[in-house]
């Protein structure tokens, strides 16, 4: 009688709290290696990404509303669709400021949709 309720309670806690918590933990664990770059009309979040020279940057590109692009001249040019995150791996070998901008026309503010990767010594 009593033990059945306890088992049920544990199940409830495990499923209703445990599952979402596990999901969040999974995501956080990933984020230690990954930078998520959100793309929306008409900005990048974050607009500036700082890395140390020699580091490997794994950019997780997520389009939040419409199709956007991620273009760093000579390095990357990716088209990102909403609901289909893309990944870009950039190896920061030289220090400097690298600008990226949206390469898919995405409405009025398209031209203002820019950001930068700063590679520090």
């Amino acid at each position: 009688m009593r033990w059945q309720e306890i088992v049920a309670g544990i199940l409830v806690a495990a499923c209703l709290i445990g599952l979402p918590a596990a999901a969040l933990a999974y995501q956080n664990h990933r984020e230690t290696r990954v930078v998520t770059l959100e793309m929306m009309q008409w900005e990048y979040r974050p607009a500036e990404i700082r890395v140390k020279k020699g580091e490997q940057l794994r950019l997780q590109l997520i389009a939040k509303d419409v199709v956007h692009g991620f273009q760093v001249d000579g390095i990357a040019n990716v088209e990102v669709r909403p609901g289909k995150p893309e990944e870009v791996i950039i190896w920061a070998q030289d220090a400097g400021v690298y600008r990226f901008r949206c390469s898919m026309f995405c409405g009025l503010g398209h031209a203002a949709m820019v950001g930068q990767i700063v590679v520090e010594e």
């Binding site: 309670g9 499923c15 995501q27 939040k64 509303d65 909403p82 609901g83 995150p85 990944e87």
Partner: protein, 491 residues
Amino acid sequence: MSAVQKPRQDRAERAVRGMTGIPEGSKFLGFIPVDWRYDLTERFPGLRRVLRSRWTSFLLQLITASVFAVALVAGFIGTPVGNANLLVVLVWIFWWSALMLIMVPFFSRIWCALCPLPSAGEWLQRRAFVKKRQGKGLTLGKRWPAALRNMWPVNLIFLGMALFSGILTTRTTVTAWLLLGMVLGAIVISLIFERRTFCRYLCPVGGFLGLYSNMATMEIRHNVYSVCRDHKHKECVVGTNEAYACPWMEAPTTMARNTYCGFCFECFRTCSKDNMSVRLRPPGTDLLVNKNRGLDEAWKAFIMLGAAAIYAAVMMGPWGTLKDWANMTSVGGYLVYASSLALTVMVVVPAVWGAFVWLGRKLSGADVPFVRLFTNLSYSLVPIGMLAWIAFSFAIILPNWAYIPRVISDPFGWGWDLFGTAGVEWNPVGMRVMPILQVAALLFGLAFSIDVAWKIARQTLGDDRKASLATIPPVIFLAGVTGLFTWLLVG
């Protein structure tokens, strides 16, 4: 106890004539006897054992609740792109299609056996997850006000939601707040009122689940009537030490329609005579039950029929202006849209239908009150409504099925790929057979509705001649409605 020796005859007699007012010998579409039954619990004793276990309901709810918990989190903090978010895809593509195409037409309110929304409230109210706990639960146990013991509150709540369906189905956080609100609402209601008052009288889904479940090919009913009749201490109504009285405030002994039976299986657990059963039956049987019919349910039928047409126009139609209105692009446009939606389903549909029924009554010279004929005949709008929704739902699931495996692998739209299905391409299937399926559904719905209309007219007027004349105008209305859906969906 002699009746027990002839259970079949007894059952057929009670189930079909004595309690329900369905004339003996009625046949669904003229082919399948309306009183045909296939008793699953009798055929498969294992099923009865499963249903009798208190763990069954708990585990069913726990499974859906687990998925729901993750989905709700996804709704709040996952990607705002609806078709990449578990919550929106789960609810508005998967659940909706499964509900309309499978659960309601075949398995009645089986969804309510799985529904995670009232679980928290019910557990609190009972102060138990599985076993029945003696003594008072955590509730004031009030009864729902008598004046509101009908479908009107649900009709209004559903209408309120229906006005926002464009926003609701495309915005993840709006869906999340709505569902969270329902969970909290169910908790509050369960603390104040008895049992599943929320489900029976307030859940916006519950209204059409109830009405459209009259169409279902499955039912939960008492088995041998005389066993119930001779059982003076009606355990299913008052409960036992181990199991609760019907949480849906039905009387399983005399229950004649699926409308308010939430497939919670408590009556299998209370009944010491094992006299409850799950049975298959011909579709639409409950529409013919001449008991508890009312204008509240008639209006539910109008709302569902009207909403199906309007959604088909907004969501599947080529009119950008309508879409802008439904999307609240401008306040003025939205107000036009919302008020015409409300006016259509609450006034225009019933008024036009009323005119046709009135004409039929005049034609036939019948002397039953108009309101009675109007109410009763309104149940014949249920089949065509249900099948129009089915036709509409084909156009949701077939083009968009691919989102389902995608969100299973990437529920939050964060770039996960749990099961390797995150990359499934959006890829409509069956587009060439879809119109055929839709036409078949609509024609079947029309034939079904006509059949029901005629049977109800005969039942209400008690005279073949009068019934024939009285059914002619409604048949024209039904044909017109089917024509309208033909145009909207395949024309």
